[in-house]
């Protein structure tokens, strides 16, 4: 069943007439974990707030459980939001913070206690119920915020960069906890983040946004292996994908490593095609395209080699096994396996198939 459907959603701010969301279409199935990812200012939080009912919808339609809900007040949407800064009331205890929504809705005392204790148990907060938020650590505050979201048994969880205030280690841990929670409760979740790692690890489907427009919707695997455009290609993946203008003089040198169908074509010197290759897909070989090493970073499990394609100023990053040492100034030879290459239209940045790339070129 479709939990949430958004069609042609648009948001224009009345003050400055700026359009922040353009023609947004998405349908979310029950139990999905959708992640909105994009750089700051891409409109992902605005979108979340529109779904929550905290922000007006300029045009387009929003359906919740099959019913049009554009004008439905936030409180009647049966959803709960976890905010970036947790929004924990400093004057209320953990218990009262979790119980806040229930109290506002005048739930009977018995029911409030029961619900809060259940939520606290699920999140391991039983011992902290009488503390004030100030006395809690970042991770604990985060849990309280989650507690407030789950206690009402909402149908839809909206999370707005909930982990961005935590340090790296805690973030990994909380990521896992949120996922466990999602598995246990199976509540449809929309999660906003600018962190691609969170997007890749948590989502059943990712929505990549830029400047208020959808760039791509897909499973993490689809997004990673078949990015719809150069933006998605470079935004997802660490270190980011190398993208070159497959242009002119370069072509001669790449003979053996890029697809043969491209090689023959002369017009491809016009540079209408972009070639992308992920650092981990580049092979260091005995011969091939010469790369001058600038420096190498040993990351532990692997090494990132930063260099320039010899004779050009094109920067390239190669991810390879850590056993080999590289010194700066040294020349290494690399190959791009054909099936790992991505092609994009140089003007629109849109993904091209190999054949289309060849044709375009």
């Amino acid at each position: 069943m479709e939990k949430l459907v958004l069609t042609h959603l648009q948001k224009i701010y009345t003050q400055n007439k700026k359009t922040v969301i353009h023609d947004f279409n998405l349908s979310v199935r029950d139990g999905e974990f959708i992640v909105f990812v994009g750089p700051s200012g891409c409109g992902k939080s605005t979108l979340l707030r529109m779904i929550a009912g905290l922000e007006d919808i300029t045009s387009g339609e929003l359906f919740l459980n099959g019913k049009k809900a554009n004008r439905l007040p936030a409180k009647d949407r049966n959803l709960s939001v976890v905010f970036q800064n947790y929004a924990l009331f400093p004057h209320l205890s953990v218990f009262e913070n979790i119980a806040f929504g229930l109290r506002i809705r005048h739930y009977p005392k018995q029911k409030v206690n029961e619900a809060v204790y259940n939520a606290a148990e699920m999140l391991g907060l039983q011992r902290l119920l009488h503390e004030k938020p100030k006395q809690l650590s970042g991770g604990q505050r985060q849990r309280v915020a989650l507690g407030r979201a789950i206690v009402r048994q909402a149908d839809l969880f909206l999370m707005d960069e909930p982990l961005s205030n935590l340090d790296a280690k805690l973030r990994t841990q909380m990521r896992e906890e949120i996922l466990n929670l999602h598995q246990k409760l199976e509540t449809t979740t929309i999660y906003v983040t600018h962190d691609q790692v969170e997007a890749m690890t948590m989502a059943t489907r990712i929505v990549v946004l830029k400047d208020g427009r959808i760039q791509q919707i897909g499973t993490p695997k689809q997004i990673y292996t078949a990015p719809a455009n150069t933006f998605v290609a470079t935004f997802i993946g660490m270190p980011q994908m190398n993208v070159f203008h497959a242009a002119g003089s370069d072509s001669a040198r790449w003979d053996d490593f890029i697809p043969l169908s491209l090689k023959k074509s002369d017009s491809y010197t016009q540079g209408r095609v972009l070639l992308g290759i992920r650092p981990e897909n580049i092979l260091v070989a005995a011969d091939g395209l010469p790369v001058t090493v600038n420096y190498a970073e040993l990351m532990g499990a692997d090494t990132y080699v930063h260099g320039e394609i010899a004779g050009t100023d094109k920067q390239i990053v190669i991810r390879c096994e850590p056993d080999r040492d590289f010194c700066s100034g040294e020349t290494v030879y690399v190959r791009f396996p054909e099936d790992k290459c991505h092609f994009f239209d140089a003007e629109s940045g849109k993904r091209l198939t190999i054949e289309a790339a060849a044709y375009e070129a």
Binding site: L54, V81, F83, Q84, F89, L92, F100
Partner: protein, 291 residues
């Protein structure tokens, strides 16, 4: 050696010099006041006699003092509480994003900038029973028209109205700032949970501005204890002592009757009352102020 001299030089310059007026006009007078309150000094005669607690006994027994004490509490309560409430409500109204907000703030704040003496004169005319603006307005509304400053029941209220009028702007500015600092996320939470305005105020705004409320309550009470200008201009403590506060009594005793001993005794009692009220407020604050 040179270094130590420099250290002492700095101390003498930064603390020694500026502390002199502080000692001369604050610290010494306080102790002298305390001492004077145990004497019968009358400002003229060179002889000063130590009279132990006589001044306090006389003062505490006098009906004038008890009346003034009651008036002081009455005045302090009915200026502080309405000022806080109105200031808070104004700030709440001004939370909404509308054009001209700074202008509204400036207009509401402007009475604070004006001299109390001048404003008391304007108000005493507004309070004029026959031709005053207020009574003309009340008459137009078919409401009773009291003789404000000439009536011992209404004079105090007249003074209170002026005092509140002059200080609500001050209060509002602090509340505006405190409300402005409340994160939008909290307000979103209230919207999501469907809290009514009343629930929002009670569960969100009031607790979150409570430190400001404490600060304002303490300072407003201290300044209410020291109110003088409006009383001097509008009523001179009258009619029939109905607007005579402790401070005004002190002024009359010290600078009209030159009864310095009893006057300083009144002042010391005023100090003690102020200190006790502040202390009680800080003690109670543990239960309702949330930082």
């Amino acid at each position: 050696m040179r270094h130590r001299m420099q250290g002492f030089g700095s101390f003498a310059l930064f603390i020694g010099v500026p502390v002199i007026p502080l000692i001369v006009f604050w610290f010494i007078p306080m102790f002298v006041s305390l001492w004077l309150s145990f004497t019968d000094w009358d400002y003229i005669s060179p002889e000063i006699h130590y009279v132990q607690l006589d001044n306090y006994v006389t003062v505490l027994k006098s009906p004038d003092f008890l009346g003034a004490l009651w008036n002081t509490f009455f005045f302090a309560f009915w200026t502080t509480v309405p000022t806080l409430i109105i200031g808070f409500l104004l700030a709440l109204l001004l939370r909404v994003q509308i054009k001209g907000r700074p202008l509204f703030k400036a207009l509401i704040f402007s009475p604070w900038v004006t001299p109390m003496v001048a404003m008391s004169i304007v108000w005493s005319w507004i309070y004029e029973p026959k031709i005053g603006l207020l009574n003309q307005f009340l008459g137009w509304l078919q409401l009773p028209q009291p003789e404000w400053l000439q009536s011992s029941t209404f004079a105090m209220w007249a003074v209170i109205i002026v005092t509140v009028w002059k200080s609500v702007g001050w209060c509002m500015i602090f509340y505006c700032d405190a409300l402005g600092k409340i994160s939008d996320e909290f307000i979103d939470v209230c919207k999501l949970e469907g809290a009514t305005i009343w629930q929002c105020i009670r569960k969100l705004y009031l607790p979150l501005v409570s430190p400001i409320t404490l600060f304002l309550a303490v300072t407003l009470i201290i300044s209410a204890m020291q109110a003088y200008d409006q009383i001097q201009v509008m009523t001179q403590g009258g009619p029939a002592g109905s607007t005579r506060t402790l401070l005004y009594l002190y002024y009359q005793m010290a600078f009209q009757q030159f009864n310095m001993g009893q006057a300083t005794a009144v002042a010391i009692i005023l100090v003690i009352i102020t200190a006790v009220i502040s202390l009680i407020q800080f003690r109670l604050s543990k239960y309702w102020v949330h930082y």
